[in-house]
């Protein structure tokens, strides 16, 4: 129970923060942080715990975004209902894809995951009747959010509603990671990561549990993807299905620490701060920095910031 206390304090602090902090820019940075953390945590369920390094998670991000956008645009279904349909759709497609690609291992799985995302991107680009092709979709104004007759949010142009939704979403994704890590599923997934053949010989059905991890991971990714898309207010195939999205998700987890619950949170903070700091300094260079960070992270701290800190503390504890 004790370990929940800091999380609860942080959540309350974040919830109260907009009382003092009203500048749209500051709120924007926090919303970007929430999105990055939610995405990193989502990826972590499959990539971190199960060790299945998907570099094609943009597929679920984009399907969540396109699903909710199309439902709003064509059927007038508000996103807070539509998103669940989109999440369900993404999970179903993810399970179909997973039951095929999880037969592959290591680099072959990585390649297949990229190919799947690329196939879905090309499908979205060419299926113009549904997706409006490369021109993308700019949705109509969002209807007011009501519970009963109580109007919660009437104006979607401000950042505040997105701030609170993003906060809840990020906390939800962290909670999912926490729950998975401590569940039977989590132990199975970690066993698969450590030694797939040993896990198999102990009677763990590999594809079944990898698929369970993928379903959770894809659901969270689709949720975060559709939130991010509504926050940005526009989607087109390259922007949501491009490999950059997938690489970003991996990077958040990698910098923080793959396979830990706090890792993507730390990674999200580091990346968003660096991104914003460097965007102010020079406009196009932040993408370059992303690549440099990736190289540094792999060469110097493959266990991420959290891993480095953990090692430091352990050494201190052992030292007299």
């Amino acid at each position: 129970m004790k370990s929940f206390a800091p999380w609860a304090v942080a959540a309350v602090a974040f919830a109260l923060l907009p009382l003092w902090l009203q500048s749209p820019y500051a709120l924007h940075i926090f919303i970007s942080l929430f999105i990055a953390v939610a995405l990193g945590e989502s990826w972590n369920v499959l990539g971190g715990f199960a060790g299945q390094y998907s570099v094609g998670h943009s597929a679920w991000y984009g399907l969540g975004a396109y699903g909710a956008f199309i439902l709003l645009q064509r059927n007038g279904i508000p996103p807070w209902f539509g998103v669940w349909v989109a999440v369900l759709g993404s999970v179903i497609i993810a399970l179909i894809v997973g039951s095929i690609t999880f037969r592959l291992r290591g680099p072959y799985f990585v390649l297949a995951s990229i190919a799947v995302a690329e196939i879905i991107r090309l499908a979205a680009l060419n299926w113009k009747d549904l997706t409006n092709g490369a021109e993308g979709i700019q949705p109509a104004d969002l209807p007011p959010l009501k519970i009963g007759s109580q109007v919660l949010v009437a104006d979607w142009n401000g950042k505040l509603p997105y701030y609170y939704m993003g906060l809840v979403m990020a906390l939800f994704c962290i909670a999912v990671n926490y729950a998975v890590k401590r569940s039977k599923l989590g132990y199975y997934l970690q066993a698969i990561r450590e030694d797939q053949d040993a896990a198999h010989s102990l009677g763990i059905p590999l594809t079944l549990y990898k698929n369970a991890g993928l379903a959770i991971s894809a659901a969270c990714t689709a949720l975060a993807g559709s939130f991010a898309a509504f926050y940005i207010g526009f989607i087109e195939p390259q922007q949501v299905f491009g490999i950059d999205v997938s690489v970003d998700m991996v990077l958040v987890a990698l910098i923080g620490g793959v396979g830990t619950v706090t890792g993507p949170l730390v990674g999200g903070i580091v990346l968003v701060l660096l991104n914003e700091g460097l965007r102010a300094a020079f406009e196009q260079g932040h993408l370059l920095v992303r690549g440099v960070l990736m190289i540094i992270a792999i060469l110097l701290m493959p266990d991420g910031v959290v891993g480095v800190l953990a090692q430091r503390f352990r050494r201190k504890a052992v030292a007299p």
Binding site: L111, A115, I119, L122, G291, M294, I298
Partner: protein, 288 residues
Amino acid sequence: MALLMQAILSGVLIGGVYALSGVGLTIIFGVMRVINFAQGELVMAGMYCTFFLFQIAGVDPFVSVIITMPVLFLLGALLQWTLINRVLDALPQNQILLTIGIGLVISNLAMLAFTSDYRILSTSYSSSSVGLSGIRLSTPLLYCFLITAVITAALYWFLARTDIGHAIRATAQDREAAQLMGVNVRSMSIFAFGLGSALAGAAGALVSPTYYIYPQVGGAFTLKAFVVVVLGGMGSIVGATLGGVLIGISESVSAVYLGSGIKDLCVYVIFLLVLLLKPSGLLGKSRV
């Protein structure tokens, strides 16, 4: 029928280039077991190298291969010596992420240096074509194929007949055994990465008269190089050559009959099917 023949022939011509960068990828994989996700970015570097040689010094793009290949060889050797070398024993996932990072750095450096404008290298023969009993083939693609054939032949000879070629193949077969036989595995790795990179550069130089040149062009080439290599069998050079030609053909045939938007889709679907049905590829050994 003429249309089909035309599509197949154009496919073979462009397939030669895919084969070239695929063979580069397969050599790197064979020697180091590292999958180079920056292969397409090296192709892009080759394209820019050729473009500026043409723009500034007026060097013909097909002649510039002589300069582009050594330049990219040095770049590749440098990358292996400074970065890749450190992760040879790391998890395959980490190796992949490292090369993805390198690719990001190369493409974004190109963007900072050359902006993301599309550039076109137009020569006097860029839009001319050669007639061959009712089938028309684009001249630059024809040249491109001929030079590809020469480079591929030279590469086969190099790997089969020279000492360094033997050493590379020995390292690819069994790293430890090669080391015990006195092969300097470390420098072979550097050489192999340089060679793979030079082949990517050659591919870039050869397609530069027919492709738009821009910093993000690499991604498509990276994926295509993988498709080619997986299709032919990881580590198999003959397989990669065959895979390149097959991918070229399926791309141009599907572009003719299904529309140009669909052609890449077909390539990736073929890729997934091969991964699932015969992951060792057409000519690969089943050790993977």
